[in-house]
């Protein structure tokens, strides 16, 4: 039995009661699914459903209209797969594509955590959809909820030996740290009923116990020099140390996280702190122990303060490290040298060390759909029908057609071209480096548009940049409909964080490799104000940038932005 939280002076949040009473995440989900009178499930069940990889949403575009029609909101479920390292076989892809068209809204959405999510699945289709995912040898368990989420790792197909090892570790961490409750099988797969066997209760969740974690827990594994996963945005970031082509171990970073609340200075984004080095043999124990400390120390009264980053700032990083080493029974070695070059993706074809080829396609906002000339969903489906390697999703919402024989490249290219997937060839620098979260109409948290705003915003920014001769400048642009940070907006060189319809905080000044947070430049402004704020900065940058200098770095060096004083960048460990 895990130790209970020792830092509990106030009452537990209601969510804690729901978890505790849920009988290992069952609640009354099954009953709620069977209720034909509503397309929704109860609020309590919806909180539990997250642990199963789904939550209830409604089409916010229709909310007011349906209220007047005396109809309940247009409820539908978002469903997210758990795909460690974002690897998908062509056979799985075809199933996921079919699910998108048969059960969901006709689109597949690549998330910023290397996985798929589907939107618009109505209640009575949820169970068959999850069953179909299961039949494709994938799962949705713990894709959301207060648990260790889908474990991400660098989508690096070139150093395939290193990637294979990283992928193996990410897969193992993902599997071993997943909840063990049988509720998932029971509810979705007509699995064996295990309710009521009290003597087996503790066996079921040896790590999590009955109340799981205080909040979500994200683990990511980066292979330098690529930081495409934004390793410092993870609760637990692992930086692979490869010397002479051998994986020596990992630098460990703890306490990263993006979420914040507008107007609440006690909430903030934080970059993970590097606390040492572990060998591959030590990795699993370290990860599990870090999770267990957060389980015991994390704030269970106030969900806004429940992520590991707040635990660390509250208890102190040293106290955390001491506790970790004490529970492990050994001390961590000092962190080793590593260096990150950038946190974007490399588009186009690259050749792996073994002579196989890999094609990274740019998928705007990660949304695979058929819209006019851009028949991306169909294009990927046709690729999946002929491809014999695999697909890899990236944390930048893109997809890699991986492991292609040189002889097959032309055929792949033809399909890519035919379906308008070859935009990466001529896109502007900013377009290639743009991320946007889903936001409206499905996300319940969104305060402003994000994914739907990007296609309108980009041409305006491109026009400005082109005017200053910056069309090819790679600038990280990140859009978010709210301050919770799915698109990791606090690591954008330019970021818009939604405040209300058509209004955003304009944030500037992150670096190009995910190692410095940006800062607020204009608060709660509209598009015109955003463009007029950026115009002179682009001009300044165009005239005075150093060779290879990023936009964010320039803004600090030139004094356009003050050097941040608090919650500084994570220390880059240099040789």
């Amino acid at each position: 039995m895990p130790a209970t939280c020792t830092d509990m002076t106030t009452t537990l949040s209601d969510f804690e009661r729901i978890k505790a009473d849920s009988n290992y995440l069952r609640g009354t989900i099954a009953e709620g699914l069977a209720d034909p009178v509503t397309g929704a499930i109860s609020d309590d069940d919806n909180k539990l459903l997250k642990f199963h990889g789904s939550y209830l949403q409604d089409d916010r575009d229709l909310r007011e209209e349906r209220r007047r029609q005396k109809l309940e909101p247009a409820y539908a479920f978002m469903l997210r797969a758990r795909l460690p390292s974002g690897v998908v076989t062509p056979a799985q892809w075809l199933v996921f594509d079919c699910i998108a068209r048969e059960y969901a809204n006709g689109t597949l959405r690549i998330t910023t955590r290397q996985t798929f999510q589907w939107h618009g699945i109505i209640k009575r289709q949820l169970k068959p959809t999850i069953a179909a995912i299961h039949a494709a040898l994938a799962s949705t368990i713990a894709a959301c909820g207060d648990v260790v989420r889908n474990v991400v790792s660098t989508a690096n197909p070139i150093e395939s030996a290193a990637h294979a090892e990283a992928y193996a570790w990410a897969t193992r961490l993902s599997a071993e740290l997943a909840p063990k409750t049988a509720a998932y099988h029971e509810i979705w797969l007509d699995g064996e009923q295990l309710v009521g066997k009290a003597d087996r209760v503790e066996e079921r969740e040896p790590l999590y116990g009955t109340t799981y974690l205080p909040r979500k827990f994200k683990i990511g594994l980066a292979i330098p020099p690529l930081n495409d996963i934004d390793v410092f945005a993870q609760d637990l970031g692992l930086i692979a140390i490869i010397e002479q082509d051998v994986l020596r171990g990992f630098n460990v970073a703890v306490g990263g996280g993006m979420g914040a609340t507008h107007g609440d200075p006690t909430t903030y984004p934080r970059l993970a702190s590097v606390i040492g080095f572990v060998t591959p043999e030590q990795l699993f124990a370290v990860a599990e122990t870090a999770v267990s400390i957060q389980r015991d120390w994390g704030n269970r009264s106030e969900r806004k303060h429940a992520r590991l980053k707040y635990t660390l700032d509250h208890r102190g990083l040293d106290a955390f490290k001491t506790e970790l080493e004490s529970r492990l029974g050994f001390t961590l070695e000092p962190a080793r040298a590593h260096r990150f070059e950038h946190n974007g993706d490399r588009y186009g074809w690259v050749e792996g060390h073994d002579g196989r080829w890999h094609l990274t396609l740019h998928i705007e906002s990660g949304r695979l759909a058929d819209v006019g000339e851009r028949r991306w969903l169909t294009g990927l489906r046709e690729l999946a029908q002929v491809h014999d390697g695999d697909f890899r999703m990236t944390c930048n919402q893109n997809v890699i057609v991986a492991d292609v024989a040189a002889a097959d490249r032309a055929h792949i290219d033809a399909i890519v071209h035919e379906h308008g997937l070859d935009g990466y060839l001529q896109q502007s620098g900013i377009r290639r480096h743009a991320l946007a979260c889903v936001a409206l109409p499905t996300c319940g948290l969104a305060m402003a548009e994000s994914e739907r705003y990007l296609p309108g915003l980009l041409p305006k920014l491109e026009q400005l940049l082109d005017h200053h001769g910056l069309a090819d400048a790679p600038i990280l642009l990140r859009l978010s409909g709210c301050p919770n940070g799915c698109s990791r907006p606090y690591l954008g060189e330019i970021a818009l964080v939604g405040r209300g319809p058509g209004r955003y905080d304009l944030r500037l000044g992150a670096d190009f490799s995910g190692q410095r947070l940006n800062q607020i430049y204009r608060e709660n402004v509209d598009e015109a104000a955003i463009l007029s704020a950026l115009d002179p900065l682009f001009a300044h940058y165009a005239n005075e940038r150093a060779f290879g200098e990023g936009f964010g770095d320039f803004l600090l060096r030139s004094g356009e932005l003050a050097t941040p004083v608090s919650r500084q960048i994570a220390v880059q460990v240099l040789a």
Binding site: V37, T38, R66, R67, R68, Q69, K70, E72, R124
Partner: protein, 601 residues
């Protein structure tokens, strides 16, 4: 009489001695007779409450009085029968007026002067309140009637092929049994008064001749409290303000269904759940222009019909029925254009084809297909007068005060290369929230909540048939009725067509609705209808019925009501371990008793 019932009644303030006398007096009465006594008592009570002296039925002997019976589904036959009774009474003739199911059938053999007003429903069915009487007269057990003088007035709608068939069959059967007509069969179309008024004049005159003896003036017994003391009526409708006109299906729905709220403020109109609102429509202006185009007529030209000169556009827009096809129009068109094909269509052997055309086509389709040299006067004369559309009321006055709510399916479909509209529903669709409508209340005594509020009710109302059940649930909530309420609702799609979804959810939460079973026909691979849900929950349904639940069906008569009836027979057969014939008989008994009530159209 059941002693448990007796003791319940005695708790309500009637002393034991009086009760014993009553019980003695009622001993040996059949179920139908007991219901008649109950209805009669209710009328007494209503009159007592209104403060007028209680009226007592004068039991005039069978030979010197006129018995007027009516079978009515939508209220037309009842209205005509009441008019007949009033006129007869005013002329000093002894008369008694009874709804068909309140008539003691064994009295038929002794009846001397009988006047029957009866409508025909859908595909040739009697109205629910006259099923028993119709079966009795048509059946083997009917007595010989050598001394009976009778007259039948049939009501119907000539847009159905089985026009007035129930009236015809009764008229023929009474003659077969030995009766003598004192007036020939009358067949009234939707413009009821056009036939009924002259027919009544003739029939009553004949009746007076036969009865001769002036005798004592008898009194008409109303079987119900007259709900409305308003000066407004069908002929003098109230102009109601439209308070709300809201589409209540999702934008993805193939239908347009409106929730309409009307103000009754200042009208004096009263209604009860189960009643209907009559709306005087006017035709869609676009359709009127299409007619004028098709006929090459000038809408401004004056046309005189029955002494009224009006511009043709007004005749077509406000006075005549141009959205519903009927036999008479086909006949007129056949004659005007010498179309043999149409003449053929009216022959008996073509009745199936005619029925199909009456359902699928509107007059404009035929006008375009069969050109004819019309004269404007002849055209106006060939068209039936515009008649009001009836909508089951979807509100309880206890919940909404001086308002009345309707649920209206807007008829609007594409066929034969053009849009087809219904008259009233498209008017409603086009009416802004500050618009006005000409309305009246059409009481429906056959569709009432149980007087005993502790009775359970089962409501079957797919589509807009759910309207009266919104009223029922509101009423039962407001009056804190202790009986349980079970609703069966169906429609095409859950997401688009779940009428009043949020209200039902609320009703389930607050306990004013106890069960809700749903059938959305187009959501799954297999089409599911309310009757399937009835079978699915048959055991429980039967238990509710056994426990005295009242059963209500509202909606489409062509398919749904029949399928539901068949499913009910199946449920009773299966779960009541009865033969299908016994199940049918039991259901018919429930119909007679008013425990199974239908409001189908």
């Amino acid at each position: 009489m059941n002693s448990a019932v007796m003791s319940n009644i005695s708790a309500s303030g009637v002393d034991a001695e009086k009760l014993a006398q009553l019980a003695q007096g009622m001993e040996g009465l059949t179920a139908a007779q007991l219901y008649w006594v109950a209805a009669w008592s209710a009328a007494q009570a209503a009159q007592a409450q209104r403060g007028s002296p209680a009226s007592v039925v004068v039991a005039a002997s069978a030979v010197d009085r006129l018995t007027i019976l009516y079978g009515s589904q939508t209220g037309n036959a009842k209205r005509i029968a009441e008019q007949l009774a009033r006129r007869s009474e005013a002329a000093g003739g002894p008369v008694r007026l009874l709804r068909a199911d309140a008539y003691p059938q064994r009295e038929l053999a002794q009846e001397s002067h009988l006047l029957l007003v009866i409508s025909t429903q859908g595909d040739g069915e009697p109205p629910d309140d006259a099923r028993g009487l119709f079966e009795f007269i048509a059946g083997k057990r009917a007595p010989k009637l050598p001394s009976l003088r009778f007259a039948v007035l049939g009501l119907g709608d000539s847009s159905y092929p089985q026009f007035c068939v129930i009236g015809r069959q009764l008229d023929q059967r009474l003659a077969e049994l030995g009766g003598t007509r004192f007036a020939p069969l009358g067949e009234a179309d939707v413009e009821v008064e056009a036939v009924a008024t002259p027919w009544a004049e003739h029939a009553l005159e004949q009746a007076r001749e036969l009865l001769k003896q002036p005798g004592q003036p008898a009194r008409v017994v109303a079987l119900h409290a007259v709900p409305s003391r308003s000066s407004h009526s069908r002929e003098q409708p109230f102009t109601a303000n439209v308070l709300a006109n809201q589409c209540i299906v999702a934008s993805g729905s193939l239908r347009d269904v409106r929730h309409v709220e009307l103000s009754l403020e200042g009208s004096g109109l009263r209604y009860e759940p189960g009643d209907a609102v009559g709306v005087w429509p006017c035709n869609p202006p676009v359709l009127v222009e299409q007619w004028l185009d098709a006929l090459q007529f000038d809408g401004a030209q004056e046309v005189t019909h029955q002494g009224r000169p009006l511009p043709l556009r007004q005749w077509l827009g406000r006075e005549r029925e141009i959205t519903r096809l009927h036999r008479g129009f086909i006949a007129a068109l056949a004659a005007a254009g010498s179309h043999d094909e149409l003449t053929q269509l009216l022959q008996p052997e073509q009745s199936a084809r005619l029925a199909a055309i009456l359902t699928s086509d509107q007059p404009i389709d035929l006008l375009r297909r069969y050109p004819a040299a019309w004269q404007p006067q002849a055209l106006v004369a060939a068209l039936r007068p515009l008649s009001p559309r009836l909508y089951s009321i979807a509100s309880s006055p206890k919940a909404v005060g001086e308002e009345v709510h309707l649920t209206v399916a807007v008829v609007d479909y594409e066929a034969h290369g053009g849009t087809h509209w219904g008259a009233a529903s498209s008017l409603l669709a086009a009416t802004d929230e500050d618009g006005r409508l000409q309305i009246f209340i059409e009481p429906n005594e056959r569709f009432r909540l149980p007087g005993d509020a502790s009775r359970d009710i089962i409501m079957i109302g797919p589509g807009t048939g759910v309207a009266p059940f919104r009223a029922f649930v509101q009423e039962r909530r407001e009056s804190a009725a202790s009986g349980r309420n079970w609703l069966f609702f169906g429609n095409r799609h859950f997401a688009n067509d779940f009428l009043y979804q949020v209200e039902w959810q609320q009703a389930l939460k607050d306990g004013s609705l106890h069960r809700l079973d749903l059938a959305f026909s187009r959501d799954g691979s297999r089409k599911i209808y309310v009757q399937d849900r009835l079978r699915e929950h048959g055991a429980e349904l039967y238990a509710w019925l056994q426990n005295g639940a009242h059963l209500y069906v509202c909606g489409d008569s062509a398919h749904m009501a029949k399928d539901v009836h068949a499913a009910l027979i199946e449920v009773i057969t299966t779960h009541g371990k009865q033969s299908p014939d016994d199940a049918k008989a039991w259901l018919n008994e429930l119909l007679q008793q008013g425990r199974y009530a239908r409001d189908v159209y």
